[in-house]
Chain length 329, copies 2
Amino acid sequence: MAGAKVTIYQVAARAGVSPATVSRVLNGARVSEESERLVRAAAEELAFTPDRTARRLRRQYSEVIALIIPDIENPFFTALARGVENRASAAGYSVVLCNTDDDPARESTYIDIALADHMAGVILAPADEASDVSRLVARKRPVVAVDRSLNRDDVDAVTVDNRAGGLSAARSLYAAGFTRVACITGPSTVETAQLRMEGWRQAERRHGGAGGDELLRYADYRVDGGRAAMAELLALPEPPDAAVVANNLMAAGALDALYDVGLTPARFGLAVFGDLPHASFSRQGIRVVDLPARELGEAAANLLLDRIAGDDGPARTVVLHTDRRLESR
Amino acid sequence: MAGAKVTIYQVAARAGVSPATVSRVLNGARVSEESERLVRAAAEELAFTPDRTARRLRRQYSEVIALIIPDIENPFFTALARGVENRASAAGYSVVLCNTDDDPARESTYIDIALADHMAGVILAPADEASDVSRLVARKRPVVAVDRSLNRDDVDAVTVDNRAGGLSAARSLYAAGFTRVACITGPSTVETAQLRMEGWRQAERRHGGAGGDELLRYADYRVDGGRAAMAELLALPEPPDAAVVANNLMAAGALDALYDVGLTPARFGLAVFGDLPHASFSRQGIRVVDLPARELGEAAANLLLDRIAGDDGPARTVVLHTDRRLESR
DNA sequence: GAAGTACGAGAAATCGATTTCGTCAAGAGT
DNA sequence: ACTCTTGACGAAATCGATTTCTCGTACTTC
C-alpha cells in the first residue's frame, strides 16, 4: 500500500470529519458511534499510524522509560533489564536500554536524551558515585536508582542487603572449615563494594582475623581485575585458603587464576556475589550469594510506575534480600 | 538552575536576536560572529537544551537507530549489540535496544515504533522467518538484517557461513576419532539451524553416515531444548559418541545432560556454534566454532550507516567467516 | 556610478497530533 | 413556552525547533 506518510488530516478527509474528531476517536474521548465507525474505517483503509513524535511534542510526554546500565554484557544487568521490561511492558510502556560502559560522560548524555525526549522516567544503575541526576530531579522527572543508591534522600532506590550478603558469604566459608578467608571487592568508591567488604570484615573479626588489609583487595568488578587480585593473594607469603568475591565477573577471573596454579574450588574456598548463568559456579563447588537481579528490575519498575502515575510521597528505598544458596554442596 | 523548560525563544530574547538565528547557531549555519557569541552566551546562562522531539518532528529524522533482538539474555546478542553500539556511537548515533523474546508480535510493535519515531534505521535480528519488514521498506527506511537473512533481495543482510561452520565442526569431531556424530540444531524453520545442520550432514555422509535422521534433533535454541535433545540421543539403542550443537545455549543444556549420566566432553565429543563467555567451553574440552558476534554487529552498523548516508545501490549480503578454534585442545 | 551578487537576519510557515474554545442542536427542568 | 444543560464536533491555537521567504545593506564588477 501507501509508501507515504498518512496523517490525521487524510483520515479526517476520508471519513468526512475534522482532524479533531479523529484525534478524539484515537484517544477514546466522547464521539458519536457513527463518527467513530467512519474514522476507524478510514484509518484502517489508509493504514494510518499516528506520528508519535508529533503526539509527544504536544503532550510533552511519552510512554517510554529509559534504563541506563553500565555494562550490557554482564548477565546481572541483562537479567535486571528483563525484570524491568516485564513490568513495564505489562503496564504499556516500552523500555529503551542505554549502555554506558561505566563512562559517566555517556551516562550524562543518556540522561540528557531521556529529558529531551520527554521520556516518562529513568531507571538508573549508576556508573559511579558521581552520577548526576539533579537535572532529572529539577525537572521533576521520575527516577529510580537500582543496585547502587545515589546517596540522595529525594530519589527512590532499590538495593540488596549487601552487608548481610557479605557476612553470610564469609561465614559459610569459615563454617566449611576454611581459616584464612580473603576478600576481593570492587572499587573503593562504589557503595556495593564497600558494603560487601564490610560484611566480610565483620565475619573475619569474629573468627579472630587481624582486621588488617593484608587479605583485602580492591579490584574493578571485571574479569581481569579478579584474576589479578587472586594471583596477588596466592603469591602472598602466607596466602589465604578461601575468598569472598564481590561480583560474578571477578569470580570468573579469580577462578581462572586458581586453575592456573592447579587449585580448584574444592580446595580453595570461593563464595561469590551473583551467579553467572552458564558458568555453573555451583557445579564447581563455588558458594553463590544469589542476587535477585530480575526482582531488582521489577521492584525498580514498580517504583517508577508509581511515580509516573503521580505518587509524589517521600522517596522510598527498597532493600531486597540476597537468597542464600550457600549451604548447597 | 531553572527547573522549567527553556526554549529557543527565551534564548533568542536573552540574546536579542530572532529564534531563527538561535537555530542557525545551533546547527552551524552562517551567522555573524557577534550573533554567535551572544547566542552561545545566552544558551549557556539559561542551560538551554534543544527539545529533540520538536526538532525531530520538523526534520522528520532522528539520529537514533533501533536494534531489535530476540533475546537480550543471550550473550551472542549482547556481544552483537556491543558491536553495533561501538560503530554507531562513533558516528554520532544512539542505539536503542529492543528485546522481542522471539515474539513476532513484539517485533512488529517495535518496528512500528521505529517508524513512528522517525528513527534513522533499523537493525533486525529476525525472530523467525515471518518477520515483516515490508512497512520499513515501503517507507524507504534503511534496514539491515543480521544473523539471519530475510529471504528478500531488497534488504541488506549480514550473516556467517553457517554451512561451512557446521561442516568443520563435524569434521573436527571425526578427526578426533569419534565415529557416530549427532547433530542438535535449532527450529527447522530457522535458516541458521538448517544451514548448520546441512554442514554437519555433509561431513556425516563423507564419513559413511547413513544420511538418516536418527542422529538429528531439532530443538529450540534454548538451554532446556538442548538438554532434552541430548538426553534423547543418549537414550538411543545405539547412541552417538559425539555431537554438533548449533548454538551456545543448547550446548549448555546438552552439557548438563552429559554430566547427568556421568559423561564429560573428553569422552563424548562436543562441538558448538558460538561461545558462552564464562562457561569455559574450551577449558572443558568442547570444540567451539567462533561466531564473530561483535563483528556481525559492526558490519551491520556499517551497512546501515551507508544507507542512512544515502547509498541506495542494490542490496548487499555480507558473509563473515566463522573462526575455527577447533584444533584447540 | 549603475547593476549585480552575497550575506546576515527577522517574519512567518511548517512538521502532525492534541486541546482549548465556541457553536449548534437536542433534551431537561420550571 | 423559555432558559439551562449537555454532548458532539469544527476552527484554530499550541507544542518547540527548523526552514523557507524576503528584505536591507555591503561589496563587486564593468
